[in-house]
């Protein structure tokens, strides 16, 4: 009797790209719910807009490049790019912002570099930076958390939808519903000579960082821990980012706590935790070895602090990640692990 031949191994594969990416999406669910709780429905609408444009751009690029649609749309990588970009946008940003950002991410940062697996830069962060540089006003107009504004002016779902697709509805005072983020607020206040202790008496501050923001941080941390438990990501990059950022912040805070925010504030503010667990861990644009990833994470953390403390932007995750993306091949070259049976260097 004759049989077909095939190469080993013959066991079924243990996982797939789609399964990994979907787990990343699941891990974002609790934090997304918290986001909605504090900031309203904006983020969900932004996600939907981003996903629609991301899938359309992905499908268009795949067909232009003559690649099969089904396996590549099924890998869910475009979905992740869209969701992460939506996380980075102000919840009431106009719809075309998400569209432009995600199209740039998919078309330029991903497919023009060769598509899945070949992109040098993290697509979501590339898209975000393009928006931040091109549309600074829209990108910094953050809605204030619900508890800061009165019941009467809080945006309903329909009003949010209207704000995103047609501009803020008449009769709503933009200044009444938007506010600087804690990172931004602290920065402006410090530049005006205020000390931390008095700045943080503002109601927007909670226990460690921005009220609301810190709770979202806790849920992101939980999601990240779950991803580590599921072995979707490993500890090196998140630990590196948080240690780099928190460590450097701790040094300056120790020197002068009145003009330098605490490490806890830095970790729980802005996109630090999101960046550490969900953005910097994008494997395609990160180094390959464990040691390399720890170095990569640490450098991102340090860069974030440098940008926050002395740079021109209140937060620096996107710039730090993109800068380190460029360094990934270099890090790879110098962190090749010792092969079994070879001499220890």
């Amino acid at each position: 009797m004759n049989f077909n031949q095939a190469p080993a191994p013959f066991l079924k594969p243990l996982t797939s790209v789609g399964a990994i990416m979907r787990q990343v999406l699941y891990a974002l669910v609790p934090a997304t719910i918290a986001y909605v709780w504090f900031f309203g429905w904006g983020i969900v609408i932004q996600m939907l807009i981003a996903v629609v444009f991301a899938l359309a751009a992905e499908a268009m690029m795949l067909s232009l490049r003559g690649r099969p649609l089904r396996p590549f749309l099924g890998d869910c990588s475009a979905l992740i790019t869209a969701v992460l970009l939506a996380w980075a946008l102000p919840p009431t940003a106009p719809w075309w912002l998400a569209a432009v950002g995600v199209i740039f991410a998919i078309v330029f940062a991903k497919h023009l570099y060769g598509g899945l697996g070949y992109n040098v830069f993290n697509p979501a962060m590339a898209g975000y930076v393009v928006l931040l540089i091109s549309f600074p006003q829209q990108m910094t107009q953050w809605i204030a958390p619900d508890f800061l504004i009165g019941e009467s002016v809080r945006l309903s779902f329909m009003e949010t939808l209207q704000a995103i697709f047609a501009g803020f509805p008449a009769g709503i005072d933009i200044d009444a519903v938007t506010a600087a983020t804690p990172l931004d607020h602290l920065r402006t206040q410090l530049s005006q000579g205020a000390v931390i202790q008095e700045i943080t008496t503002h109601p927007m501050y909670g226990m460690a960082a921005g009220h609301g923001w810190e709770w979202i941080g806790v849920f992101l941390l939980l999601g990240g821990a779950w991803l580590m438990y599921r072995r979707v990501i490993k500890w090196q990059i998140p630990a590196g980012v948080l240690l780099g950022l928190g460590g450097l912040a701790a040094i300056f805070w120790f020197i002068d706590p009145s003009t330098h925010a605490s490490p806890l504030f830095h970790v729980f503010s802005g996109a630090a935790i999101l960046g550490a667990f969900f953005i910097a861990t994008d494997p395609v644009s990160a180094p390959a070895s464990d040691k390399g990833r720890l170095i990569y994470g640490l450098c991102i953390g340090v860069l974030v602090y440098v940008i926050r403390a002395w740079g021109g932007y209140p937060d620096g995750i996107a710039f730090a990640v993109l800068l380190m993306n460029m360094a990934a091949p270099f890090i790879d070259h110098y962190t090749k692990p010792r092969t079994y049976g070879h001499e220890r260097p």
Partner: protein, 509 residues
């Protein structure tokens, strides 16, 4: 001795898939009507036939002798008549035919008179090695390296530890498990013989913790022999625990140098079934003519372990186990991680056949579409050799074989762990095998080109030398000619002078 276990890097927790074949005891299969003995069942040179077609042979009679140092003898596995020495399909990944001795059994199964080496405890190590060599014993774990060579030890360095490998980490395979359960005495006795041959101080018998029955049987056997040098060690079930280098790391925490052998760190590793075969060869005088084969998979009616004669065709082995069941997609020799598919079940059981796996389509689904590498690093985490499979893959795709070697391609043991964990379902091991073959091919080509260049240069030099010699000869000839010519001139001068003298004489007179 093993006080504390270490942990080898990487590896996977895989399902055992061994229950089906371990439910019943080992079944002894009677000799089949026809025996097919490939001349190359081991690593090294093929054996050289010692019989001719038409000759009657007995079970245990050597029908092919070892050729050169790294080779192994082959023995008839039942009595009968040699009908041909010709090409026949052999179990090899290539699916090609190779020279085999084909014997038609006479059904009497007569054996040659066994010559036991019963007083082996007083025999010289060399005599034991010779016996193992003459019995045609090779590593029965699947590698099939001639065992007597690995019983030679090292003259420069006293051997510390003999490791008997009973880990059997690959899913589906249970031949060693069943052997240890039912014939633990043979394993321990074999260990004692090997200790004598090697002059080793002690022996560790390693068994994975998913084989409690085997461990119990070995413990009982150890109690019986009461040999303090031999110790049973239970190691964690983790693929590839049974890899020689991984097992050594688990037991001793030491690494074998990448360009060396376990011997270099005072260790020798043998499979438990090899130890049992050594016992039979030495104590009972029986050469290696049968082995235990796990016949399993969803495609076989009665999965079990069979003691089959070497040379039994797979089709008959399957028939002995109730035949095929359902839709068999693949017939695999070895396990589902490192085995290879057979083109046909006409191939015979050889010394390296530890498992015959008849897999259905549901068990071993065909690969899905391969996606690009996303550099997730799961492969590097799973690699027991600490390689970066994603980089090896990248450079292999680019055909940059120099970089592939910089990333230590040749330290890949092809265990398949990276392949299994790859979310993009990239057939990594196939790529690495391809790269290895390409590099070997290139090296061979380079050697050939070097050879051709040397020959060309030598020819050129010879031609030049010949031309020079010819020129020299010609020159010498010319000179001689010249000399000869100049000789004539002198004569003419002398004649002219004589003539002038004559004239003067005449004038005077």
């Amino acid at each position: 001795m093993a006080e504390r276990l270490h942990r080898f890097r990487g590896g996977l927790e895989l399902p055992g898939m061994k229950e089906a074949a371990t439910a019943s005891p080992i079944r002894v299969m009677p000799p089949p009507k026809r025996i097919v003995l490939p001349l190359s069942q081991h690593i090294g040179e093929p054996a050289k036939p010692r019989v001719a077609p038409g000759e009657r042979v007995l079970r245990g009679q050597m029908v092919a002798a070892a050729e050169g140092v790294i080779s192994a003898a082959i023995h008839a596995s039942t009595s009968g008549t040699v009908v041909a020495i010709e090409d026949h399909l052999v179990p090899h990944p290539s699916g090609l035919a190779a020279p085999c001795i084909i014997i038609d059994a006479d059904g009497r199964d007569e054996a040659i008179e066994p010559v036991p080496l019963s007083d082996w405890e007083n025999r010289d190590a060399g005599e034991i090695r010779e016996r193992v060599r003459d019995a045609g014993i090779v590593g029965l774990g699947g590698a099939a390296f001639p065992s007597w060579i690995k019983l030679s030890g090292n003259r420069d360095q006293p051997l510390d530890t003999l490791i008997l490998n009973g880990a059997e980490c690959e899913p589906c395979i249970s031949c060693d498990d069943m052997l240890m359960r039912e014939r633990a005495d043979e394993v321990i006795s074999g260990a004692r013989i090997m200790l004598r041959a090697l002059h080793a101080r002690h022996c560790l018998v390693a068994v994975e913790d998913n084989k409690p029955e085997a461990a119990e049987a070995l413990q009982a056997a150890l109690a019986k022999f009461a040999d303090p040098r031999i110790e049973l060690v239970i190691v964690p079930s983790r693929y590839p625990q049974g890899g020689e280098r991984q097992l050594i790391e688990t037991l001793t925490g030491r690494e074998v140098p990448h360009d060396g052998l376990p011997l270099d760190i005072g260790i020798v590793c043998h499979n438990v079934a090899t130890a049992a075969a050594v016992h039979r060869a030495v104590v009972h005088g029986e050469p290696l003519t049968s082995r235990i084969v796990t016949v399993t998979g969803g495609g076989v009616a009665e999965p079990c372990n069979v003691e089959a004669r070497i040379g039994t065709r797979m089709s008959e082995l399957i028939a002995f186990c109730g035949g095929y069941r359902g839709d068999v997609a693949r017939l695999i020799m070895g396990g589902p991680m490192m085995g290879f598919t057979l083109r046909s079940d006409d191939a015979p059981v050889i010394k390296a056949s530890n498992c015959l796996l008849a897999g259905t389509a549901e068990e071993f689904a065909p690969r899905r579409e391969t996606l690009p590498c996303i550099r997730c690093g799961a492969c590097a985490d799973a690699c027991p050799a600490s390689l970066l499979p994603q980089m090896l893959y990248w450079h292999t795709r680019a055909r940059d074989f120099e970089r592939v070697q910089e990333y230590d391609l040749f330290d890949c043991i092809e265990c398949g762990s990276c392949d299994l964990v790859c979310p993009s379902q990239i057939p990594l091991v196939s790529h690495f095998r391809y790269a290895k073959t390409e590099i070997w091919g290139k090296n061979e080509e380079r050697a050939k080109a070097d050879n051709a260049r040397r020959r060309h240069e030598a020819r050129q030099a010879r031609l030049e030398r010949e031309a020079r010699e010819q020129e020299e000869k010609r020159r010498r000839k010319l000179e001689a000619l010249e000399k000869m010519k100049s000789g004539d001139a002198k004569k003419a001068e002398i004649a002219a002078a004589l003539e002038r003298a004559q004239k003067r004489k005449e004038e005077r007179s």
